[in-house]
């Protein structure tokens, strides 16, 4: 029976092929959307592991997460180095790594940080960063590049790189006066780290000496004690103000401020030098802090303490909570995508029914011949069901291949544009369920023409309708 079915289908291979193709496309789309979704989520979740809190200037959790962990966008304003030290010294905080952002290297984000970053950062469920070549930077103009950056430009330890101000592949403000030397290349992680360039805080700072905004008001703390609201606002205002001024016209004014800042720094150093002598350089401001806790269950109380911190207006973001917020934002788009994929699948299944039904009248003769040689109406019913099953299976298989092919082609682009990489592995349980859903809906739909044939063959008998 199966070979009869195959040969009959082969006889109608053009239409059958089109049907298989439409099923294949819907399967590929459904699986593709599903994979993109899960990979995006998994990729994001992998990137954020190991960090208990991300501290940045008061702002939106998702924005902070995107900027610090994924190198997309930036945090609103900077926070003072003093705040970093406060965070680092806070009881319950195990470690803190400063982060500076806003530069890019040929389209890849540049992160200013300390060597501790490589020690503390975890990805993909707790794996530490590993150096494929070289090691962390030990001089201020050293740089560590992610696997993808290294691969894209063929960087190896010893290579000299020049960063640019701002993000994007095309930059106009190139810091070519301050080249960095690659000291190490990281192993691929499958996270945003692959696409990042790391430099020391000192090195990062040297590029921005003339442009750095600052907001560490020596009197900020004193005033904050008097008034809860105002200082925060003023801080932000001041920062925005100085950031605007930043580059050019108000250099004199700025120089004075930087000078003030240095006075403050010196003053501050007197208090803390003994405990923090590992920080050779102290920039005026940084963008964010990655923090790890001694005791994870204390995260809420520490988050509250940081929110009430008087020096800067701080937000402490729990990466996982921010991720949930991100999903709730992207959820609508996901639903839309999945609905669309579902609609395409429905169209594919309808195409199958159309193909089977349209052929029925033309095949009445075929059925009459089969009846004359002993096929029962039930045999002919199964013949149609077999056809549906065959077309569905071929469609699903082809869809899987199409998806694999598209994935292979699209992966470099996805990785470059979005830092996403779609796995090529075996289908997950969820995917199997989705495919099974397509299969069984197709089978049920295929029963409609099969039932029609059943009735038709009963009525037609051996008479030849032409």
């Amino acid at each position: 029976m199966l070979d009869l079915c195959l040969k009959s289908l082969l006889n109608r291979r053009f239409v059958a092929g089109l049907t298989v193709l439409s099923i294949a496309l819907s399967v590929a789309l459904i699986l593709g959307v599903e994979r993109l979704r899960t990979e995006a989520r998994a990729g994001f979740a992998n990137s954020a592991s190991g960090v208990d809190l991300i501290v940045a200037a008061r702002g939106n959790d998702v924005q902070i997460l995107m900027a610090t962990v994924f190198g997309v966008g930036s945090t609103g304003t900077g926070i003072s180095w003093e705040s970093y030290e406060v965070v680092e010294d806070m009881p319950g905080i195990d470690w803190a790594v400063p982060l500076m952002m806003g530069d890019s290297h040929r389209g890849y984000p540049v992160i200013g940080t300390s060597n501790a970053y490589f020690k503390r950062f975890r990805h993909s469920g707790g794996k530490p960063l590993v150096f494929a070549q070289g090691q962390a930077f030990d001089d201020p103009m050293g740089a560590v590049v992610g696997a993808e950056v290294a691969q894209a430009f063929g960087y190896a330890p010893g290579a000299e790189i020049v960063n640019a101000h701002g993000s994007g592949a095309v930059s106009f403000d190139v810091h070519d006066d301050a080249p960095f030397t690659v000291s190490g290349v990281l192993e691929p992680t499958g996270t945003a780290v692959d696409r990042m360039v790391f430099v020391s805080i000192e090195g990062f700072d040297t590029l921005h000496q003339e442009a750095l905004p600052e907001n560490a008001d020596p009197f900020g703390r004193a005033r904050a004690n008097e008034d809860d609201e105002e200082p925060a606002q003023q801080d932000e205002g001041e920062t925005a103000h100085s950031a605007e001024e930043g580059h050019d016209e108000h250099k004199e004014h700025l120089a004075k401020e930087v000078h003030d800042e240095h006075l403050h720094d010196d003053d501050h150093d007197e208090h803390v030098d003994d405990t923090h002598d590992d920080h050779g350089h102290e920039p005026a401001t940084i963008n964010a802090i990655f923090a790890g806790l001694e005791n994870k269950s204390a995260v809420l109380s520490i988050q509250r303490q940081l929110a009430q911190y008087r020096g800067d207006a701080l937000t402490a973001v729990m990466p996982n909570v921010a991720l949930l917020q991100l999903w709730s934002i992207t959820g609508t788009a996901e639903i839309a995508l999945r609905l669309m994929a579902g609609a395409v699948a429905l169209a594919g299944v309808i195409g199958l029914v159309v193909m089977l039904s349209a052929a029925l009248d033309a095949r009445r003769r075929e059925f009459a011949i089969l009846r004359s040689v002993g096929a029962t109406p039930y045999n002919i019913f199964t013949l149609i069901i077999f056809e549906a099953v065959l077309l569905l299976l071929m469609g699903i298989l082809l869809g899987y291949f199409v998806l694999t092919g598209v994935t292979i082609v699209a992966n470099p682009i996805l990785a470059a544009e979005f830092g996403l990489r779609i796995g090529l592995g075996l289908p997950t349980l969820r995917e199997v369920v989705l495919v099974a859903l397509v299969f069984f809906s197709g089978l049920i739909a295929g029963a409609i023409p099969a039932l029609r044939v059943y009735r038709m063959t009963l009525a037609d008998g051996l008479s030849m309708r032409l």
Partner: protein
């Protein structure tokens, strides 16, 4: 045991005002070759459907190889038909996407009895039958049936009706699409093979020139008082 025996067969299509079949008695004896003659609309096709058990006929009116066809369930009738009856239609007998040999083998696919009756390997038997019917070219035998001429197709259909030696071969105007010489040649071949396999033949046609080949001719208009 008579291959075909009809007793007071009456049949009307659902909703039709009058009987289309009203046959008092008819029988086809073993090895007998009978031509059933009648104009169109005389109920020829309906009679063949009744004998083949395709339409629902009353009990105890149609016996094929001793079995009351009307008393069988639909499913059993389907099985019974392929076990005991070989059918040849007017035109388009073959599944175009199968080869000639595969078409001939179709009854063996659905009937264990027919398969068992084929002494040798079914495929060998199919090729022998086709050869005896004048189809010898391996290209013709193995190529798709759609590439065959109408005369060749009818001979393949005859081979299919005969494989596994069913008791009865029913032929429904199988020569109407053939030219004069081909008609006689086809009927002669068909009769010879029926004799070889021991099958009785009921051959429906309105062509008087073919009468000479048969043991007797039955006028359906006379036999069937329902056809008026």
């Amino acid at each position: 045991m008579k291959p075909i025996e009809l007793k007071s067969l009456q049949y009307r299509w659902a909703g039709a005002p009058r009987l289309i079949l009203d046959i008092d008695t008819f029988e086809l004896r073993a090895n007998e070759k009978v031509m059933l003659r009648g104009p169109s609309g005389s109920g020829k096709s309906t009679l063949l459907s009744a004998i083949a058990g395709v339409i629902d006929i009353p009990k105890a009116s149609v016996f094929v190889a001793g079995t009351d066809v009307g008393g069988l369930s639909g499913r059993d009738r389907d099985r019974f038909r392929v076990d005991h009856i070989g059918l040849i239609f007017q035109v388009f007998n073959l599944l175009p996407w199968l080869s000639a040999i595969e078409n001939v083998l179709l009854p063996c696919r659905f009937s264990t009895l027919r398969r068992e009756k084929v002494a040798a390997e079914p495929k060998t038997t199919a090729i022998r039958l086709l050869n005896e019917l004048g189809l010898t070219d391996p290209k013709t035998l193995n190529g798709p049936a759609s590439a065959l001429s109408i005369g060749q197709q009818q001979r393949v259909a005859a081979a299919r009706a005969l494989i596994g030696a069913p008791e009865v071969v029913l032929a429904d105007e199988p020569t109407s699409a053939l030219d004069e010489e081909a008609k006689d040649a086809f009927v002669e071949l068909l009769l010879r093979e029926c004799n070889a396999s021991g099958s009785s033949l009921l051959f429906v046609s309105h062509d008087r020139t073919l009468e000479k080949h048969f043991d007797r001719t039955v006028e359906l208009g006379v036999l069937n008082s329902g056809a008026k």
